[in-house]
Symmetry: C2
Subunit: 339 residues, 2 copies
DNA sequence: TTGCCTAATGTAAGCGCTTACACTTGACTA
DNA sequence: TAGTCAAGTGTAAGCGCTTACATTAGGCAA
């Protein structure tokens, strides 16, 4: 990597403005401690030189970076995009920069990324979901790293936590489905290892079935990766089984869209031949035909609230609180009566 | 922001391993200059302490950060997600971290973000498109910042550049459309100010029409923001005009999907009543009914190649070359004969 | 006038790291 | 045997910045 040789330094500015480096520094950090005439002169030079403070020097000296990190499973998925965008916007309003890294749903990589972001100077972190190895939590604990867990809310969590209860959400949509008279339920879920959102949703389905007195024997599950094609393939798999399920619940809208697309190709009519539901309520849900009945997740609010909480923690605010958000079921056309 | 007080330092490691700080440092940076027994001892302590090198110190001392920044118009859009994901993966393979910032299509904010990323220590940058104010280029020039422009390829660019020629692409799909006998063409484009991709695509349409001897009077244009709803509204607007266009070309697949969705709602049959085309070939294109005829953009290849080029530049490799990628037209169902 | 206080600014230490240079040791060559 | 060299390690300077503390100057009360 090459040198950033030509970058002007605080020294350069100080020399040209005929003040000490301390004064220049104060112009940035505590402007009201510098008399206006001096400040103007300094800022003029700053402009002229195109001076930008050197981040490394700054963090070293002040032991803070105004940077937080977020580690998300993948960038390439609409599921996270909206929430992260809101998270970032809120941080930006507070002059905090966001570093984004992705783990590819791999806890080991997540751990590395956490270390990497911390050594990059991140003051705090945003993490998705609760499920991660103890050693990761140990590290966070030992290094006293402020962090917020989002995308899932758990009553009993030891972490600061903003999100919705995926288990309740799973139950809620299942109850809705049961109202339509469905008995044979199939679930296409994302892999549940180290993905507590997926796992909790699935357990929510089980909860609801149990409390309605429906045997687990009526529940069929395929777990797969999050892609249109996986959703489509899993759908086809279910449709070749006998007896067919009457409803196919999908772990997110991407899987559900894949399923419906395949249904259309196979000439299977949704919801007349089989119902399909999604989860998330991303744009896709209103694009696919028939439109998806799904769980509406308040992504933007989640991102914004997470940012606020993390900022509060970092600013040492007292009694910071975890926050549970509510979800709603959005009834569209892909869920119909059991036949 | 709070202190990271409890982080162990190089010193701590050195003391516990009974070596100098230089040796510990070498274990990380030039491991083959340290004899194995020493290295093992050091790494053991590193593990035990959960030591992570302090980024600030590191950048200060070495004047490099192994970090590059990317400024994209928005995170919340599938258009960029795939390419950026590939970009990031390639960097990660080379132990380079990616910082992502978003500009919201605003050149002023882009400039700020560039400054911010640079002061964060980014060694180089990825920028989307060529269109930005001179002062931004001046800054990049003056500070000698290595950068790669992507998502558009221009023969005459002064910048390192990986992408496809949006103008040619615009022509190419227009020619395809003309083969289907279309004469009255409507375009729904993103705003073209400081968006050279959109502008070039539009100019490509004009080029193709001109060389086929079709008057500009047969071209209607609406420029709008990139969202499903904007696409839908613009579509409806066009459909109420007389005479109606026979084909609606959309600046990207999101707009096109919005258009088709609205068509379905209005009972307008695509492609029998009107044809619709997109641009990008994201997942959406195969989900919407009818499936989209669109321009396939090699997003992943673009991201990967951009990363490689940027890394080469940063490593001071000689004769780095800009790279033009080819696009292809994907014929699906949304384009039919003019009626 | 003297003494005290405050506001503005300067001085200089040191944040954690890399690296040029110096030193030590042991092996090899002439 | 002395001389040369390379490998492994240590010493210490200094990267750009913040900030505790020191200094200066001017205003005001006694």
């Amino acid at each position: 990597m090459n040198k950033r040789s030509s970058a002007p330094t605080l020294q350069d500015v100080a020399r040209m403005a005929k003040v000490s480096t301390a004064t220049v520094s104060r112009c940035f950090n505590t402007p009201d401690k510098v008399i206006e005439t001096t400040r103007d002169r300094v800022l003029e030079i700053v402009e002229e030189l195109g001076y930008t403070p050197h981040f490394g020097g700054r963090t070293l000296a002040s032991n803070r970076s105004n940077t937080v990190g977020a580690i998300i499973p993948t960038i390439d998925n609409a599921i996270f995009a909206r929430g992260i965008q809101a998270f970032q916007e809120t941080l930006a309003q507070n002059n905090v920069t966001l570093l984004i890294a992705s783990s590819g749903y791999d806890p080991e990589r997540e751990f590395q990324q956490i270390r990497s972001l911390i050594s990059q100077g991140a003051d705090g972190l945003l993490l998705i979901g609760h499920a991660r190895p103890i050693k990761t939590y140990d590290f966070l604990q030992r290094r006293q790293i402020p962090y917020v867990v989002t995308w899932n809310y758990r009553e009993d969590s030891n972490s600061f936590n903003v999100g919705f209860d995926n288990r309740k959400a799973g139950s809620k949509i299942t109850n809705e489905i049961l109202k339509f008279g469905h008995k044979r339920i199939a679930v296409i879920t994302g892999h549940t290892e180290f993905n507590d959102r997926a796992l909790d949703r699935l357990n929510g389905v089980r909860d609801a079935m149990k409390s309605s007195g429906i045997s687990e024997l009526n529940l069929a599950i395929i777990s797969t990766t999050y892609s249109l094609k996986s959703g489509a393939d899993a759908f086809e798999d279910f449709m070749t089984r006998k007896p067919r399920p009457t409803v196919i619940m999908c772990g997110n809208d991407v899987l559900a869209t894949g399923a419906i697309t395949r249904a259309n190709e196979m000439g299977i009519k949704v919801p007349y031949d089989v119902s399909v539901t999604g989860f998330d309520d991303i744009d896709l849900a209103e694009v696919v035909q028939p439109k998806l009945t799904t769980v509406h997740v308040p992504h933007r609010r989640m991102g914004k609230s997470s940012a606020k909480l993390l900022l509060d923690i970092l600013n040492g605010k007292q009694d910071c609180q975890s926050l549970e958000l509510e979800i709603e079921i959005v009834l569209r056309q892909s869920l119909g009566n059991a036949f």
